[in-house]
């Protein structure tokens, strides 16, 4: 009973690059740090002396831990698999999902890598389909080599126009 869809121990699925972990952590933590601003300003103005910091530090620590946990899970629970027929991607710890994009439905593919990703040899793969929600499936955290390999493997074969649409 109560099987879970996304299990990071499943060896048939690949995880993201270890090098991508810190980048992902940093970007996930950032929005979690926002509550620290009111948690600093309010106690410092309302409470005498430096006592306000007694509120700030626990809040900051909690935000940091929450952000790190979410970021870590985001990295750990993003898993992919390339099969003969297409690409599968699993995401999420609590709200889990698995997407399957068959090769026959791929319209085109993009690889992005910004300066931060380039410095670590990483890349973001974007898979475009004709679908509505899946019109651009974007996944960061691949090594440039893997992303290129995936792109080459998923490039749609030449086929008749009448397909798919």
């Amino acid at each position: 009973m109560n099987e879970t869809l996304n299990d990071p121990r499943d060896s048939q699925w690949h995880g993201l690059e270890p090098a991508a972990k810190n980048l992902m952590l940093a970007f996930t933590v950032l929005p979690f740090l926002i509550p620290i601003v009111p948690a600093t300003v309010l106690p410092m103005t309302l409470m005498p002396g430096w006592w306000g910091l007694a509120v700030t530090f626990p809040v900051a620590a909690a935000c940091l831990v929450a952000g790190m946990t979410v970021g870590h899970n985001r990295w750990l629970y993003t898993r992919w698999r390339l099969d003969d027929d297409g690409f599968r991607l699993r995401k999420g710890r609590w709200w889990q999902k698995e997407v399957f994009v068959p090769r026959s439905r791929v319209q085109h593919l993009d690889i992005h890598n910004g300066p931060m990703e380039r410095a670590r040899g990483l890349a973001t793969l974007v898979i475009h389909t004709a679908g509505t929600q899946s019109h651009a499936l974007k996944q960061e955290g691949f090594s440039l080599e893997t992303a290129t390999r995936l792109r080459d493997a998923l490039i749609p074969e030449t086929r008749s126009h009448a397909d798919a649409l």
């Binding site: 869809l5 027929d85 999902k97 698995e98 997407v99 026959s104 009448a162 798919a164 649409l165």
Partner: protein, 499 residues
């Protein structure tokens, strides 16, 4: 098929638009001034500066004439070449095979003059590739026929039902006026129109809205004395009859709108496309290639069930630019039809035996609990507030729970899905029912989703993504499936579309 770029152009002559084209070109520009003028005529109010633009018309007439003179087109063997522009010349070369849709639009004036506006739509691009304002009706129909006859040369992706190709169109649905009146009774278009009209009027004259509310408020204030004298009962009766009158009026407007919009509605289909023509004053005549049809939505509200009628529409793969024209990216194949008519339309497009679905599979036996719990928990908030204000009286809200319980039970009983004969279908709803379905080969990606609540109950959701699924359409998603069955369904659909 190799496309020779150079056509033997000499034999097909250059053609021009209808000589009255400049008039329609001009009217198109004038359209935006019509409302302010009417408003000014009828009320004697309004802001004069909105009419200043009319000064520009003096310049518009020669421009419109010039546009008529410079616009030429040539119909080649497999393409149409459109030349336009006086100083900045444009040559547009559209292969017939790329044209997804040829529509003829006719307003009242168009019909008096026996002309039509022709739009050529291709799949990609921001807006339609060719707009010919206007062609003589005969030429327009001829052009439509040429383009349509051409795509018969291209083999269809999958001949529906595998029958022998028949070129003659068969009528799938025809709506007599009696049906249109029923449609008016069912629909809420009247209310939408009235609200839109008020919004429009207030926009032109913001003082109007204040005056309206002032006079309404003033009337209430003046009569507040009577209220004490005459008693509340007579006012309640008056209010109720006023509401009833408003309701009847709105329904009448709905009926009028239905007749204006759908008069002479004919849906017909040949081997390659479905064609719709409709409209009393504004005549619309468009066609939709079968291959562009994506997901289908079938609906039956409470009133519709009283009349034993359904409404059927489809998403069509189309360019982004036509999205604002509601009619053309989501086609209302049957605004109103009985079960037989619906089955005839679906059967004409879908593979054989796909519809009606023979066996609807049920959801997880606990699906009703999920439908019950979320609103039940949410109801605790107003319950708390009411108890805080009215004390014991607030507990009356508890009577909503048996209703919630019954409605989620019934909801689960009517919900179901089916994956058979190349069709994936979902049905939901109890008071108002919805069916959403698509050919499996139209699915672009398959999602398997599991929320923490799903996990607690051992459930999951399978969602099929299709092209141009309207944001107001129900999703093609099977919710509350037993986990193992959901995985199985996702595998099956994946295998079917990956071949």
């Amino acid at each position: 098929m190799p496309m020779p770029f150079e056509q033997p152009a000499a034999e097909s002559p250059q053609l021009r638009l209808h000589p009255l084209s400049w008039l329609f070109e001009l009217l198109n520009v004038l359209k935006q001034f019509i409302l302010p003028i009417l408003f000014l005529l009828f009320t004697g109010k309004g802001n004069n500066y909105e009419l200043w633009g009319l000064v520009g018309i003096g310049f518009m007439v020669p421009l419109a004439v010039a546009r008529y003179i410079s616009f030429r087109y040539r119909i080649g063997v497999d393409r149409i070449v459109i030349r336009s522009g006086l100083l900045h010349k444009t040559v547009r070369d559209i292969a017939f095979t790329r044209i997804q849709n040829v529509t003829l639009h006719q307003g009242l004036l168009h019909r008096l003059m026996q002309v039509a506006e022709v739009r050529l739509e291709t799949g990609g691009g921001e807006k339609e590739e060719g707009r010919m304002r206007v062609l003589g009706l005969r030429q327009a129909r001829q052009l439509q026929r040429i383009i349509r006859s051409h795509d018969k040369a291209v083999p269809a992706a999958m001949p529906p039902g595998g029958e022998a190709a028949t070129d003659n169109e068969t009528v799938l649905l025809q709506l007599p006026n009696r049906e249109l009146l029923k449609l008016g009774v069912i629909s809420n278009k009247g209310m939408i129109l009235v609200v839109a009209a008020f919004g429009g009027a207030f926009q032109f004259d913001w003082k109007l809205s204040r005056e309206t509310f002032h006079s309404a408020g003033g009337w209430l204030w003046d009569h507040s004395g009577d209220l004490a004298g005459n008693g509340i009962v007579s006012y309640a009766v008056g209010g109720a009859s006023l509401l009833l009158a408003a309701f009847i009026l709105l329904r009448l407007i709905s009926m009028l709108q239905a007749v204006l919009h759908y008069h002479g509605f004919v849906l017909s289909g040949d081997h390659h496309r479905l064609s719709i023509s409709r409209g009393l004053l504004n005549r619309f005549n468009g066609s939709l290639p079968r291959t562009r049809i994506q997901a289908w939505t079938l609906q039956q509200g409470w009133l519709q069930r009283r009349f034993k009628r359904f409404a059927l529409r489809v998403d069509a793969a189309a360019g982004g630019g036509v999205k604002n024209e509601h009619m053309e990216s989501h086609w209302q194949l049957a605004p109103i039809a009985d079960g037989e008519g619906i089955a005839r339309i679906i059967g004409a497009v879908m593979p054989r035996d796909a519809w009606p679905v023979a066996l609807w599979r049920p959801l997880h036996p606990d699906a009703w609990k999920r439908e019950f719990k979320a609103p039940a928990l949410f109801l605790l908030i107003p319950l708390g507030i009411l108890v805080f204000w009215f004390h014991a009286w607030g507990l009356l809200l508890l009577s909503a729970y048996p209703w919630l319980w019954m409605q989620s039970k019934l909801w689960a009983k009517h919900a179901g899905y089916s994956h058979a004969n190349g069709l994936i279908a979902v049905r939901e709803g109890w008071i108002g029912k919805t069916w959403r379905f698509a050919e499996v080969r139209k699915v672009q990606a398959v999602y398997l989703r599991q929320s923490p609540f799903d996990r607690r109950h051992g459930m999951a959701t399978v969602f099929c993504d299709t092209v141009n699924a309207g944001s107001f359409e129900p999703p093609l998603a099977v919710r509350y499936l037993p986990f193992a069955e959901a995985v199985e369904l996702q595998r099956a659909i994946s295998a079917a579309i990956a071949e």
